[in-house]
């Protein structure tokens, strides 16, 4: 009998040490029945993409609150594309101004979530998209 689970990678790129949001989200996704691979802090885009490939996740989620999102998020999106993984659901969250959000959503991200988003909304979004 098939036993499919949604597998998600949650990663913190760069030097940003704010991990509370990433951990809260990881727990919420676990509680929704998903398998969440958490990478921990201070990862490079290369490490993140390599982990995503080996773990064969359907969803890659990046979290950043330090302001360095534009460069780092973009690198992850480009690398995923380069390696032929443009079909993963790529999402992000943290402190990301509206204008950057729009920009990233044009440049390969499916969705960027802002502070205050309820984790239920994120869970629902992921389930919808993955089962599409």
């Amino acid at each position: 009998m098939a036993q499919n689970k949604i597998r998600v990678l949650i990663a913190k790129p760069g030097l940003d040490g704010h991990d509370r949001g990433a951990k809260v989200l990881a727990q919420a996704l676990r509680d929704a029945g998903m398998e969440v691979i958490y990478t921990g802090l201070r990862r490079t885009p290369d490490q993140i993409v390599s982990a995503a490939i080996q773990e064969d996740v359907q969803v890659v989620g990046l979290s950043s609150l330090s302001g360095a999102h534009n460069n780092l998020f973009q690198k992850v999106a480009n690398l995923l594309q380069e390696k032929g993984y443009e079909d993963v659901l790529l999402i992000g969250g943290g402190i990301i101004p509206e204008k950057d959000r729009k920009q990233l959503e044009k440049a390969g991200f499916d969705r960027i979530f802002s502070p205050g988003t309820s984790t239920e909304d994120i869970v629902e979004y992921i389930k919808d998209k993955v089962n599409e």
């Binding site: 009998m1 098939a2 036993q3 499919n4 689970k5 597998r7 990881a26 727990q27 996704l29 676990r30 509680d31 929704a32 029945g33 998903m34 398998e35 969440v36 691979i37 958490y38 990478t39 921990g40 990862r43 490079t44 290369d46 490490q47 993140i48 993409v49 390599s50 982990a51 490939i53 080996q54 773990e55 064969d56 032929g84």
Partner: protein, 316 residues
Amino acid sequence: MSKQASHLARGIIQGKEKALAKGLTMVENRNDGYRELLDEIYSEVKNCPIWGLTGAPGVGKSTITNYLVDSLAKSGERIGVIAVDPTSPFSGGAILGDRVRMMDLAGKEGIFIRSMASRGALGGLSPAIMDAVSLYQAFGVDRILVETVGVGQSETDIVALADTVTVIMMPGTGDDVQTIKAGLLEIGNIFVVNKADLQGAETLTGLLQSMLSSKNSPDDWAPPVLKLIASTGQNLDKLLGEMHRHQDFLKKSNQREEKEKMRNEMALKMHLQARFQDLFLGPLLGTSEWEQAVKSIGRRERSPAYWAEKMITGSD
């Protein structure tokens, strides 16, 4: 024959990382084609040493694995890691956090890491983990390291999977004696007292040593006890040395074949159990007989033991 399965099988045999990753998912999820996949790669499976690391949550298994993999890879080996974390019995989800301590390894040539949830397997190992080992061995790795959650007595399957089992403990957990009693003494080939920087390491080491010496070992291997500080790297080279020494011991005493046979039997048994469940248990669930039995058990008329037998044999 599933086209996707043959495609993946070919990719895995050719050493393609993406194929291995997708193949592992297929096998883990028991998706259509997984049997063909396993069968097609099977003639390409090459035996290699399998090292198991087990111990209670947070004792330092991943920190130690990280070191071992890093030094083995530096000597040119290709390494496959399987890191198992528990599935939540409530949601069926899991947080797989072993990569937090292994991230230096990500993206390095010749290292493949896969995090797997236990998915409710009783002995800590699900059949999918045995199959993952086969995929790694067809992909072509020189060694496999398996990190499993050791929660007391349930952690014994690792013996059937790994050639060399390292049991890791730490001081100050308060239940040292219980942990040791729960059968861990029997499964370890090597014992580690990690976090030797914390109080109580001496006592735990002494306790372990005395318990091990009072037990007569079934073979000529006397399990060593090592004190480590994994976070600073202290004595990790010694651990690696002992693991190699145990591997040599197995080879010299012709026990590798025995281990191999145990592993094969275990894999066969696990597949049979799963099939039995699908074939026999599955169709019974929710049938009128099932409902009748549940009611009867609830009214204390007949026992579950009675009903199980009746459902299988049809007679009382």
